[in-house]
Symmetry: C2
Subunit: 200 residues, 2 copies
C-alpha cells in the first residue's frame, strides 16, 4: 500500500478527491489542509505528499519545505499545479518535488503520478512545459522578490527599508528595477503581474 497525504485547502474538494483516490486498491489516502499538513507528515509518515499549490494563507505561497517532515525519509513530493503560475512551479522544483500534475488535466493523471513518485520516479505533465519555460525566465532576483513581497503587503518605502536594512534610495532603485524587469507600468502593475505569475 502507498500511504498518500493529500494536501488541499478546500475541505469540500479535498474530501471528494480523497474519497475518489481511495477507490484505488493500492492507495491508503489521508488528507489535510496546508496548515495541518506538517503535523500529519510527522505522524503518518506518508510515502507521497500530493499537494495543491494553491494555498489559502495570507501570502498564498505554500510552505512546501514544511512537508519534508523530520527524521526518517522525506515523503516524495507531488504538486497539483497550473501552467499559468510559473513562479509556483519554480518553488516546487526548488523544494525537490518529483511529481507535477496539471490541474487542467484528467484526474487519472494524479493516480499515475502518485504511483511513479512512490517509486522515486519523476512525473511531469507535458502540458506544464510552457509553465516551466516561463519559470526559467523569471526575471527577478531573490532580493527583488523580498522587496516586492513587502510592497505587495502594503508596506511603504520606509517600512521596506527598515525591514531589509536598506536605505530608502536603495529600495526605490529596487522598485524601479522590478517595474522595468517585469515590463510593468508602475509598482501596482508589477505586483499584479508578479502575483499572476505566482512569483509572489
Amino acid at each position: 500500500m502507498i500511504r498518500v497525504l493529500l494536501v488541499h485547502d478546500e475541505c469540500l474538494v479535498r474530501s471528494v478527491l480523497a474519497e475518489w483516490l481511495r477507490r484505488e486498491p493500492d492507495l491508503a489516502v489521508f488528507d489535510a489542509s496546508w496548515r495541518a499538513a506538517p503535523g500529519r507528515v510527522r505522524t503518518l509518515r506518508p510515502e507521497v505528499c500530493a499537494a495543491d499549490l494553491d494555498c489559502a494563507d495570507a501570502v498564498g505561497i505554500p510552505p512546501l519545505a514544511d512537508l519534508r517532515g523530520t527524521g526518517g525519509p522525506a515523503p516524495g513530493l507531488l504538486v497539483l499545479a497550473h501552467a499559468g503560475r510559473p513562479g509556483l512551479l519554480k518553488r516546487a522544483a526548488e523544494a525537490g518535488a518529483l511529481g507535477y500534475v496539471d490541474k487542467e488535466g484528467s484526474p487519472q493523471r494524479l493516480v499515475s503520478a502518485i504511483r511513479e513518485v512512490a517509486r522515486g520516479r519523476r512525473f511531469v505533465d507535458d502540458s506544464l512545459g510552457f509553465g516551466f519555460l516561463k519559470a526559467a525566465e523569471m526575471p527577478l532576483t531573490r532580493r527583488e522578490l523580498s522587496v516586492l513581497s513587502l510592497a505587495a503587503e502594503g508596506a511603504s518605502v520606509a517600512e521596506i527599508a527598515g525591514s531589509l536594512h536598506l536605505s530608502h534610495g536603495t529600495v526605490r532603485n529596487y522598485m524601479a528595477a522590478i517595474t522595468r524587469k517585469t515590463g510593468a507600468r508602475n509598482r501596482i502593475d508589477a505586483i499584479r503581474i508578479s502575483q499572476g505569475e505566482g512569483w509572489l
Copy 2:
C-alpha cells in the same frame, strides 16, 4: 432527474466532483469551465447551476450574470463560496443566487443544496454567516470600486481619469477615500485588502 451544470475552473477537480455527484440517482450532472459555462447553460438548460466562486480569469470575478441563459426559466444558481471572501458572497447575492455552500464544509452539503435549489428554495450554510455580515459592511461605493479595479490592473491616475471621464484630482480624491475607508496604509495596501475580501 435534476439537471445540474457544475462550473469550476480546474478540470481535475471539476471531473472528480462531477463524477462524485453522479452517484446520486436523481442528478444528471454536466460540467464546464467558467468560460464555457454560458454556452452550456443555453444548450443544456439545467435546473441548477452549481458554480465555484473562484474564477481563473484575469480579474478573478466570476461572470455570474452570464449563467442566467436567455429565454425560458433561468437555472437556480448555487455557489461554492468561502466566508473569507465576502465581496464574492455579495456579488452572488446580487446575482440572485439561492444556494450558498461553504467550501470549508462537507461535500454532502452540496448535494442537499442542489436538491433545495432545484425546488426553488434557499440554502445557506451557517458557516458563511460571518462572510455575509462582512459583505453587508463593504465600505466602498460602486464608483470607488471602479477606480480601485482600474488601479489594481496597473492603470495610472491619468489612465483611470481617462477611462472614467473624471479629472485627475477627482481620481486622487477617490483613491484617498478608498485608502481611508479600507483602513489601508496606502494604495497598494487598499488593493491587497480589497482583493483579499473579494471586493475586486
